[in-house]
Every structure is written in C-alpha cells, then in structure tokens.
C-alpha cells in the first residue's frame, strides 16, 4: 500500500471567514493508478462536506475542471500518477468566484460565451429543400473547433481573461466564434465580426498560449483567435 497526499482548497462562505487548504491522505494499492476524480470521490467518502462538480466522468461534459498542481485540467481524465509523487494540490479554476470548495461561479464565462452568438445564423434567402449541405472541405474547417466542451480550463488560465473578464471574450468563446465565422452555412459573418471589432473582445489576446497548454481536448484557441484577428484586419482595409 502507498499513501497519496492531497491538499485541497476548502471554502464555505456560510462557515469560513477565509479559504484554507485542507490535507487528506488516501491509501491505495501499489501499482494502482486512478483519475483525480476517482480520488476526489474517495476523499468525499472520508469527508462528505467536500464539494466538487462532476457528471460524465469521461472528459465529455466538462464539469470537473480543476487546477491540479497549478495547471488547469479535467479531474476525470487526469491520472494521479501524472501529477508527480509529492502532495497533490487541488484548487478551483482560477479567476472566477468560488461558490464552495472546488465549485466556481461560471456566470462570467457563459456571459462571454453568449456574446459570440454560438448558434448558426442563416438569412434563409436560399432555404434548402431538406437540410444545409456542406462539402467535405467545408466540414473539415470545423475540425479542431466544434470539439470544445466549455470546461473553462482555457479561459480561466488566461491572464487577459483574469484582468478583463467583463470585456475580453476569452479563448473558449473566441474558439466558438471562429467555429461559426468559418461555417459555410452561416451567413452572419459580417455581423459577427462587427460585434468583435473593438480593443478588448479579441485583441486582448496577446498569444500567451496558456489556453493551448491546458486544453483537455487538445484544441488550439490561440490559432483560432489569430484567424479572427486576420479576418478583422481584412475587413478594415
């Protein structure tokens, strides 16, 4: 048997004056690995007051985004063994208000997401008989964009989003913005670009690339943001 040490961020506004880190130990068999979410579920058996979000437990729903040893990721697809041999430090995603323990208030994140109108807009001037068709090439352009599960790991690792969460859309929102900007079925390209054409919404991205570093789905929001900047530039000249 080996002992895994955890230091978990705890805060309950009804009881605590300030957040604190609480230490936990978990006994596991030698050679046995588990995901961080599995460890958290076992810790919750020890301490039922520990609160965290989880749902699908397989990296699809994006509920259990956490900061693990300083790096954002999904607890359900992060093996404990990948976090080294020392104490595993678990904190809520940074930059957004904490509701309780590892649960954050994602209102600001989804407010920015709503700004990019994340749905297909078509003027219906040429409505198709049955459905909007795309060529294979047109569909290929959506790869690397539609897979985003809105876990907020990227936006909450972005310093530009930390400092300006009310003005900068953030990497997740902008990834979705580009997903609709290049969708051949969407006819609102100019309106979408007009909505993003200010000093903050897109251009607050300085290419730090924390979003790329942490994305649990392996997506590249910085590249998508670069494409949006190019589109805005072409629109201006």
């Amino acid at each position: 048997m080996k002992t895994l040490n955890f230091s978990v961020y705890r805060y309950n506004s009804d009881v605590d004056d300030a957040p604190y880190m609480k230490d936990y130990q978990l006994e596991v068999e030698d050679g046995h690995d588990m995901m961080v979410l599995d460890a958290l579920i076992l810790l919750k058996e020890q301490d039922p007051t520990l609160v965290f979000r989880r749902s699908c437990r397989e990296g699809v729903c994006g509920s259990d985004g956490l900061n693990m040893n300083g790096k954002n990721g999904l607890a359900c697809i992060t093996p404990v063994s990948s976090l080294g041999k020392g104490t595993i430090i678990l904190r809520p995603l940074p930059g957004l208000p904490v509701v309780r323990d590892l649960v954050i208030d994602m209102t600001q994140f989804f407010t920015q997401y709503e700004k990019v109108k994340p749905f297909l807009i078509n003027d219906d001037k040429q409505p198709p008989a049955r459905e909007y068709l795309q060529s294979v090439e047109e569909r290929d352009k959506l790869d690397g964009l539609y897979e985003c599960i809105l876990c907020a790991c990227c936006s909450t690792s972005c310093p530009s989003f930390w400092w300006n969460p009310d003005k900068f859309v953030g990497p997740a929102g902008l990834l979705h913005a580009y997903r609709f900007l290049i969708d051949s079925r969407d006819t609102a390209t100019d309106e979408r670009l007009a909505d993003l054409d200010d000093a903050f919404s897109v251009f607050r991205c300085h290419g730090i690339m924390n979003c790329v570093n942490v994305c649990p789905k392996g997506l590249n929001p910085t590249k998508a943001i670069g494409h949006i900047k190019s589109m805005l530039l072409q629109r201006s000249v």
Binding site: S160, K229, L233, S236
Partner: protein, 115 residues
C-alpha cells in the same frame, strides 16, 4: 494613423497593426546599430558623429523614436487597463507616462539634430 494613435479611444485593429509595424522598424534599427558595431572594429567619437551626421541615419533614428513612442503608448494602455482598475488613477498614470514617453522622443530629437 497619427491622429488615431493620438486619440484616447483605442481601436483594436489599429493597435494590432501599429504594434507590428512599429516593431518591424525597431527590429530593423536594432539590426542596423548592431551591424554598425560588428563592422566597426574601433568606435571613436568621430566615427560615431559621422554616422549620425548622415541625414538618412537621422531620419531613420527619428522614425524609430516615433515608433518606440507609439509602441509604448499602446503597451502602456494595455498594461494600465489590465492592472489599474480605477479610472482616475489610470488616466493620471497614463498621462504622466505618455508625457514621459513624449519627453524621451523630443529629447532624442534635440540630441539627434545637435550632432
């Protein structure tokens, strides 16, 4: 561009292009000065004065100074809007720091034409 860069309201595309264009000038000037030092075994006062006596070098230096001013102006605005949330303090700091930047450009101009 000059009028836009002098205005208080920032334009995302304008700043994006200005930052990159001015960075190109600053890089070119850095390469030019490095090239001068690398190709001149002994730099004496006479050689240094002769370099800046050339009108083309003066113009290039002056344009680079203006580029540094524009570049820092945008950079300062971005840093200040990131870290200073109070509008009064931010406006004050922005005014003082931009004035300092302008003072550097004007001083550079006097030094340049004094050669």
């Amino acid at each position: 561009m000059v009028i836009n860069q002098a205005s208080l309201k920032r334009d995302g595309v304008q700043d994006y292009v200005s930052l990159r264009a001015t960075a190109l000038f600053m890089t070119a000037y850095t390469i030019f000065i490095l090239g001068f030092f690398l190709t001149t075994p002994v730099v004496t006062f006479e050689i240094w004065s002769a370099l800046f006596d050339n009108v083309a070098v003066k113009v290039f230096t002056f344009i680079t100074l203006l580029c540094i001013w524009v570049h820092t102006r945008i950079g300062l605005w971005q840093v200040l809007t990131d870290y200073v949330k109070g509008p009064k303090l931010r406006t004050f700091l922005s005014f003082v720091l931009n004035l300092l930047g302008l003072a550097y450009v004007v001083t550079g101009l006097f030094i340049l034409w004094g050669v």
